[in-house]
Symmetry: C2
Subunit: 364 residues, 2 copies
């Protein structure tokens, strides 16, 4: 098999320490499974600010465009709040999404049976939960113009952001959701706030129309975002695939992930459009953030980062067998009773980041 280009961007907070555990898995696959990688590693977020004074350099964006896939850690260290809005750590991930046009963020919320006790919800409410949230990630209020803070004549100030969605932007992300539903349980719930926002009204119309034209076989339900926040707590098992805009997707996917009790376990993929040559840009990252409160303590859960790499092998490198190997190793480690602090429950053995990573490699 040909050598693939992988760009590794650990970021700040717990990013670097969980990425170190992925490196162990990579080494094993190179030695034992003939994986051939051309790996570049670069600083982003707080780490890049410390060295280069910017959250991400143009060279790194260029490398990401050339890579076959990007493995991202996390950014958001609040220690960099003082550098100003244009240079904050988060600009790294926002520019990557935008400049590689990674418009569809796939965020699974899945309950691992072995971890069901870690959920704050009653076991019967979440047992077997398997939701896929498809979040639009290059449009909406994250990128709309005009935006900014202006000073008014009387000295007071005004903050402005603009939510914008075009029919094309809505349709392409909805297609991803419908396609996923077809290989899952054939149900899509589309989320907006059409009773208050015209952009939500357009969202609803475009999704309805697309289903009628192209996906009449998929069941489609519309739900208001506030009701969805409620329904995720009331009865999350009612959902299969959810599709929504950038901002609602941000809140609802974090909420859904937390229902599982296994936040530290959940990977995500962000995909671009298919190019003429059949390739598509793709970035893989854990659902969890940079968790600055526990950074550097060696207690973060590396499994979401490791499982993000498994997803990358499957979808971008076409190495299904290796992905399954990793996922099985993770399952076995959990079955053996090892737990990091975030998924700890009674009777289990608490371990740190590095011991957890070693345990996965040992199971491989």
């Amino acid at each position: 098999s040909e050598t693939k280009k992988l760009l590794v961007l650990p970021g700040d907070g717990i990013g670097p320490e969980v990425m170190r555990e992925v490196a162990k898995v990579v080494q094993w696959l190179q030695a034992a499974r003939g994986l051939k990688l051309d790996i570049a590693e670069e600083l982003v977020g707080g780490a890049s600010l410390a060295k280069h004074g910017v959250p991400i350099r143009d060279e790194v964006i260029a490398l990401a465009k050339e890579a076959d896939a990007v493995l991202f850690g996390s950014v958001g260290d609040p220690a960099w709040a003082h550098v100003g809005f244009d240079r904050r750590p988060e600009v790294a991930i926002l520019r990557l999404r935008s400049e590689l046009e990674l418009f569809a963020n796939l965020r699974p919320a899945k309950v691992f049976d072995a971890l069901i006790d870690a959920s704050t919800l009653k076991p019967d409410v979440v047992r077997g939960l398997d939701i896929m949230i498809v979040r639009e990630t290059v449009g909406g209020i994250y990128f709309g113009e005009p935006r900014g803070i202006e000073t008014l004549p009387d000295g007071s100030r005004r903050g402005v952001n603009t939510e914008v969605y075009t029919t094309g932007e809505i349709e392409r992300v909805a297609r991803v959701a419908f396609d996923l539903a077809r290989v899952r349980r054939n149900r899509v719930t589309s989320i907006e706030k059409c009773n208050v926002m015209e952009s939500g009204l357009l969202w609803k119309e475009v999704v309805t129309d697309l289903r009628q034209r192209v996906y009449p076989d998929v069941e489609l339900t519309h739900m208001l975002a506030d009701n969805c926040a409620m329904q995720l707590v009331r009865n999350p098992l009612q959902f299969d695939v959810l599709v929504t805009g950038n901002l609602f997707g941000d809140l609802l996917s974090d909420l859904a992930a937390m229902l599982t009790g296994s936040l530290g376990m959940l990977p995500s993929a962000t995909l671009g459009a298919e190019q003429a040559d059949g390739k598509r840009h793709a970035l893989y990252e854990p659902i969890h953030g940079s968790a600055p409160d526990i950074a550097g303590k060696g207690i973060a859960n590396p499994l979401a980062q490791i499982l993000s790499f498994a997803m990358l092998l499957r979808y971008s490198f076409d190495r299904e067998a290796d992905a399954v190997l990793i996922e099985t190793a993770v399952s076995n480690v959990l079955a053996s009773g090892l737990r990091t602090a975030d998924i700890m429950s009674e009777g289990m053995a608490r371990v740190g980041t590095s011991v957890m990573g070693d345990a996965v490699v040992k199971e491989l």
Copy 2:
């Protein structure tokens, strides 16, 4: 005591049927407690559309301005989706909030001990929960201009909404939150998305500055909206008062209410600024919506509407004793084991809307 002007607006969906139970409580207070009310009742939402072709008439807005308080039911019957965005039922509540400048929506999320089993969360996670969400309700993306759907030269369309917050709008709602915290547990959590939105950055700055100048005795924490959605599920007991904008408040307050398992029990108040004469406009409504799926079936829980009226008596009519009477009656009814479907749990007696209302009056 003087006669007070009350405007009653049942709305659509389950609004009218739960409001009927409040009427029983009002009659009892008039007969037994010398309550003197000048009551007007008007149609809003779907009910007004059916009779008058508009979601709310200007006369009703005028009546609301003259009233000492407004008791609102709910609006949002999707049967009226075809009338177009400008005439949808929701315009009723949005115009009331906007034209009476009801900028601070107080949304408690409180666990009733007797109902703890109705929550989908584990009892230990929500026992004793008592959160107050202060949501801004006349600004943000709900009302910002420009807004609408435009057709582009190539025939595709673009939906636009604008989030706007001024320093003045942020400060006045933050004051309400800090004042409430002082008579509660002295903690405010301010919620925005300052890592993505400049309007959120301004929000954070204004709240920080206000605390430093006026409320140094109150503990202030800042939290990103996505993290807050997570934290509400992970450990809701960490919160006391939350303050946030219109859109985040919409999602997060519904989420918080659902945690309690007692959505059908939760009242809310929306307050305007204090006028020169010491009065302030105020509207009281349940947290739950118009629930069109169960409307007309006689099974809706009337307690949130009845408790909204108790709040109204306390804050707008200065009748603390009557408010306590009603709240105690509700507690006693729950203790006696009566439950509507939404709060039903094992071993309790399931009753309908009207029987529940009668039971409250009997306890008075």
